[in-house]
Point group: C2
Chain length 385, copies 2
């Protein structure tokens, strides 16, 4: 496997007093072999980093992103950006994941959802297949959490980074973090699966299938061959709306969206919809402009297939983990509820590696693992030191 | 409003030692005025009863059914029926709702889902509109939980029944039970909302909208005008599959459906689905044969619109309830979680009527209010006596 690394720009641009400025970099990998036996001629992914790599390259923390996320885990691209990376609350100088001490790397996964975001670099069904000059569409191979990890490993190898002080990720990022610790137990010293799980059960796999349904049944999907016709926007937006709701606890959801009794039309017209649904869908439509419907299907599939070690026995696979581990589920999580972290922790304990465990409080459910992460900043900081 | 009652058969057929045999009866109501100001020329609903009405008609308990349910709450139609009514565990001679003491009535709602079940009599979009000779389809007016209650009240009035010893119902049946106690506080002596709520919040209204989506997007739905073309089976079955999953807790679901790692095809083929989903959908297809897609849309809408009193302030409406009340949510319920019963109970308490509260344990989630009801049989029996 030939590895080519293109450093487009410097890793960390020193910022002013208030903003940690970061820039996207590109990593390219030729002839990537997927878990299911296919070869992708060229893989490109984006990555960014915060902090300074020390001389013996022993201060590296890898951050792995969630389903709808990107490599933009912290900082801003420009000092006037309105938003920072999703975990900016805990990554930065003097923060829980202290960039004065650690060199923090985060990369875009394969089949990243936000393929049309100018700050995302990914490879998936929307990518031009060099063999045909057309987008892969569904000819792109099914990829797994294991494949995401292998691409990250190639990136780290290219940088000469061996050991990881820690791997930390929320939700689908927790899957990657765990798979890192299972596949490369001697390279991962600490593991923090946030709002995560070491496996997807039948219940979650079916819930994920329900995210795919609106896309697959949109007449504009055309079996994935829509790239010259325009996206299946209705199906994609509906899928993104479902994802948002499933990531929220009712308490937070009901604070954000209007109560049904405020709507008068639904009593008179069976076709009328409620404002809560209309607004949720409208928010999703805005996000859909940066996303690709087929990429969502591939992320759904990678998530459905997830189990530690990607074999027949995820419990046994967990016994290979040597990393000191901290599970951080969110108390109100209805998507990957604390029970999944508890079962994962129990399996690890049975294998002789007793993990730490704490819950993230909050009203936002699964989303508390992103927007409410400050609540466990202290536990993370202590665990890393 | 002219009320016509057709007694097709006797109320209670005395059974052998083991089976309480029951028969469906038909109630007909002309010119029913709906809450939203429309008139339905003729309403027919089915009902059944268990036990004997006493001389002063003071021993009546009304059972109100859930979303996918029917009036068949207990007993069997024939002694060789493989299934009994859904709450047979608690309704019968010597059971918690003791038919040696009480006369228990249960009726089909308007727009009942199971319109093609020979034991269901209902009126809804699939009904022939006498004015046109064709099914109403979407010209049928939106109906509410209040409308369901008014039809039941007309039935009871026709039987000369004034006071109710109790109204008891699970899930959507709890909505009807609560609305009975709000609209007719002097007629309802006891109220047991099981796996219920006094209102639907934005979160639940959107979840319900997701049940409607597969039907509305099925090309065979034809805006509800499919009666001469055949049902939108794919959309209807998918909706029923979603309903089943949402009524289950992951623990029960994962016991019933196979784990994802048993499937090999999904790793190779992005279009392949998991056995858990295939089986769930297959079970739903069997049920879909008795159900009507438009009826599901109308049940979704009636549920979305639900709030006690059907006005702007469900909390205030609850203060009209005089009935002694027992809330019975299921601990693992993810569809109408205990928090909804708790908020409802708190609003009632604020109005000066302090309800009783107990939780139904179990692994089946919302469904524990049906299949796990035996766990609270003793509480129900005590509360009724």
């Amino acid at each position: 496997m030939f590895i080519r690394l293109i450093l487009l720009c410097c890793v960390f641009v020193s910022a002013g007093a208030h903003a940690m400025l970061v820039q996207k970099q590109r990593f390219t990998l030729d002839n990537f072999s997927t878990e299911n036996g296919h070869t992708i001629a060229q893989v490109n992914i984006g990555w960014e980093a915060y902090g300074q790599l020390n001389a013996d390259k022993s201060n590296v923390i890898l951050i792995t992103h969630f389903f709808s996320g990107t490599s933009h885990a912290a900082g801003k691209y420009h000092k006037d950006d309105s938003n920072s990376g999703y975990w900016d609350a805990i990554i930065g100088p003097g923060k829980a994941i202290d960039t004065n001490k650690f060199y923090v790397i985060s990369s875009d996964t394969l089949v990243n959802a936000n393929v049309f975001d100018p700050n995302v670099i990914t490879t998936g069904p929307a990518t031009i297949n060099p063999a045909t000059g057309k987008p892969y569409a569904l000819s792109f191979p099914v990829v797994t959490i294991g494949d995401f990890v292998e691409v990250q490993k190639a990136l780290l190898d290219s940088l000469g980074i061996g050991k990881l002080h820690a791997v930390i990720g929320p939700s689908m990022g927790s899957f990657q973090a765990i798979e890192w610790a299972v596949r490369y137990p001697d390279r991962v010293e600490r593991l923090i699966p946030v709002i995560g799980s070491a496996y997807i059960d039948a219940y979650a796999a079916v819930k994920l299938e329900r995210w795919a349904y609106p896309i697959k049944t949109d007449p504009n999907w055309h079996n994935g061959n829509y790239y010259d016709k325009g996206q299946p926007i209705q199906g994609l937006s509906t899928a993104l709306a479902y994802i948002t709701q499933d990531a929220l606890h009712p308490t937070g959801f009901n604070q954000r969206y209007p109560a049904p009794e405020l709507d008068k039309a639904p009593l008179q017209d069976i076709k009328a919809t409620f404002s809560a649904w209309d607004q949720l869908l409208q928010h999703a439509k805005v996000r859909a402009e940066y996303q690709d419907a087929n990429h969502i299907l591939y992320l759904v599939r990678a998530s459905q297939l997830w189990r530690a070690g990607m074999g027949d026995n995820w419990q046994q696979a967990l016994s290979r983990v040597k990393a000191k581990t901290l599970f951080l589920p969110a108390s109100g999580d209805l998507l990957l509820p604390p029970a999944l972290s508890q079962h994962s922790a129990a399996a690890m304990t049975a294998g002789g590696n007793i993990p730490h465990y704490a819950e993230i409080p909050g009203i936002w459910g699964h989303l508390d693992g992103v927007v409410g992460i400050s609540a466990v900043a202290e536990q993370i900081a202590e665990f890393l030191n």
